[in-house]
Amino acid sequence: MDLILLLFIFTLAAFLGFELIAKVPSQLHTPLMSGSNAISGITIVGAIIAAGVDDNSWLTTVLGTAAVVLATINVVGGYLVTDRMLGMFKKKDSGKETK
């Protein structure tokens, strides 16, 4: 793919990222961080291609497989832990049922 096009996409995504996150209340900083952390596990896509490619090199397969394992931990752990945290944020009414 055209390299300039890739750089173009990168630049636009950077501006989009700034716009998206600029006004998040401080309460949500941790879930936002762990949620975006899970997204950084997108490198799993590269890991899958590396692990599955047939280049007759055991090194690529080993590195790719290790990358798949690590990226999967990042993705699965990140999303689940974020969901667990967000499940605990309660409004006043629902928080009172323990009384």
Partner: protein, 477 residues
């Protein structure tokens, strides 16, 4: 339509889901749904990648996916909320290492095919691909060992105190320059042997640099470090995206990178320091720093849990100010119990949260949410400060620098200029503290010496249970 187009269309859909997910994560009402949406995007991206025509063998992929999922599920279920900063640091580190390995595997592929066959099979330009492989290794390596070191600091495996030595920064900069030179050599040289040497050099150095770069940063600056490493893990993924010319990696990685940068800057602003200052000053290493100690005199006045109860029982307006100490002693549940008793007693209760209280952004909010404190009771610093003079009692639970009035008044103080929660303006201030030592910054806290401050010594959980018991005895009688 061929499969490559189908895959790219699915990647666009995944990118849209990530963007919507992140947007929804920014609001309380939609946050959980947003996280789920972004997870669906991730699943979509993974599934269509399996259709990529370069992927011919599935054995190792499936094994890796199963192993990773199992470990991820166990970690996410088992982790305690007080250990969340460690967890986030560790997950960051795994993401960074995964990106590093993707870059390394791509280099392995180039060596296996040879450049000509590689460029015919995949797209790219040798110099550009070489440079982005270098960047992926550099950022991924720093993210990995930096996160592991941050994890070790947060988990208490190594001391949280800054580790410094003379020439430390010079050494780091020298390493960075050697790596840059190796990176340029790697991208430009036509000799495979030379490229391998350069690659090995920057691979090893990036791993060392991540470690030495986090070493001089103290425990209290962890919110900045964690969000910076989060940003880097995204940028590592984006760099890996350039290596394999993959849009979805670039977009998702870049979104994470910028959101991490914003959080980092918010954290720096909350401490009134620049990022450079946080990263390179080794704050708190020069313990003491109190040339002005003579200027502020006073004594520490201890208070018992019984007397604390008497003060709180009479109070109509109470504000709790939690800090890292609350996390250490796991006191959040007993704090919530005390807050409910105070409300039944007719008091209005608030929780004042400083942006950098704890060890990661939003740390206190997560702990109080775990203890079922409704989020309407959590008040940000700028909203609570004007109300402070009307507060009958401010209860400071294991917070230190974020309530130190020296930040506002003492120009010689290292934390001068840092915005604080003005606990000293409340009529009475009760500070819970484990012992008489200074906090991570090594500063004597003027708040503790003020006439209206009382010190409640001991483990916060234990002392607060004592106060709660007094309230219950009152209710029973």
């Amino acid at each position: 339509m061929n499969s490559a187009n189908l895959i790219n269309l699915a990647y666009i859909a995944a990118a849209i889901l990530f963007i919507l997910g992140l947007k929804m994560l920014g609001r309380q009402a939609t946050a959980r749904k947003g996280n789920a949406l972004s997870a669906v995007g991730m699943l979509l991206a993974i599934v269509v990648t399996l259709l990529d025509h370069h992927v011919v063998s599935y054995t190792w992929i499936v094994a890796g996916l199963i192993a990773g999922t199992a470990i991820g599920v166990v970690c996410a279920r088992a982790v305690k909320m007080t250990s969340m900063p460690e967890m986030v640091a560790l997950l960051n580190g795994f993401g960074g290492l995964a990106s590093l390995l993707v870059g390394w595997a791509e280099y392995g592929k180039i060596r296996a095919y040879g450049w000509d066959a590689y460029l015919a099979e995949f797209s790219g330009n040798p110099v550009f691909t070489g440079l982005v492989i270098f960047l992926t290794i550099l950022i991924g390596g720093i993210t990995f060992t930096g996160s592991v070191y941050a994890f070790a600091k947060l988990a208490g495996l190594v001391s949280g105190k800054p580790v410094r030595w003379a020439g430390q920064h010079t050494m780091n900069i020298a390493m960075l320059m050697v790596m840059a030179a190796a990176g340029v050599l790697f991208a430009l040289t036509g000799s495979p042997q030379l490229a391998l040497v350069a690659f090995t050099a920057f691979l090893v150095l990036s791993l060392i640099l991540g470690w030495t770069f986090v070493m001089p940063i103290g425990g209290g600056d962890m919110p900045v470090v964690i969000s910076l490493l989060n940003s880097l893990s995204g940028l590592a993924a984006a760099a890996a995206g350039f290596v394999i010319a993959n849009n979805v990696l670039i977009v998702a990685g870049c979104l994470v990178g910028t959101s991490g940068v914003i959080l980092t800057l918010i954290m720096c602003k909350a401490m009134n320091r620049t990022l450079v200052n946080v990263l390179f000053s080794g704050f708190g290493a020069d313990a003491g720093g109190g040339s002005t100690e003579g200027a502020f005199q006073g004594e520490l006045k201890p208070i018992s849990p019984e007397d604390t109860f008497a003060v709180l029982e009479a109070a109509r307006q109470v504000v709790f100010i939690p800090g890292y100490g609350m996390a250490v002693s796991q006191a959040q549940h007993v704090v919530r119990e005390l807050a409910e008793l105070l409300e039944q007693n007719g008091a209005e209760v608030r929780f004042a949260i400083h942006p950098v209280a704890g060890r990661m952004p939003g740390h206190m909010n997560v702990l109080l949410a775990e203890a079922s404190v409704p989020y309407e009771q959590l008040v940000e610093m700028d909203s609570i400060n004007p109300l402070m003079p009307q507060m009958d009692v401010a209860v400071v639970i294991g917070a230190n620098d974020v309530v130190n009035p020296a930040a506002a008044s003492d120009k010689s103080s290292p934390i001068y200029g840092m915005p604080i929660i003005k606990a000293h303006e409340a009529r009475t201030c009760i500070c819970l503290k484990r012992g008489k030592g200074t906090g991570f910054s090594g500063l004597e806290n003027q708040l503790f010496l003020m006439p209206n401050t009382r010190m409640l010594y001991g483990d916060a959980k234990g002392t607060l249970q004592g106060v709660v018991a007094e309230f219950k005895a009152l209710a029973a009688s």
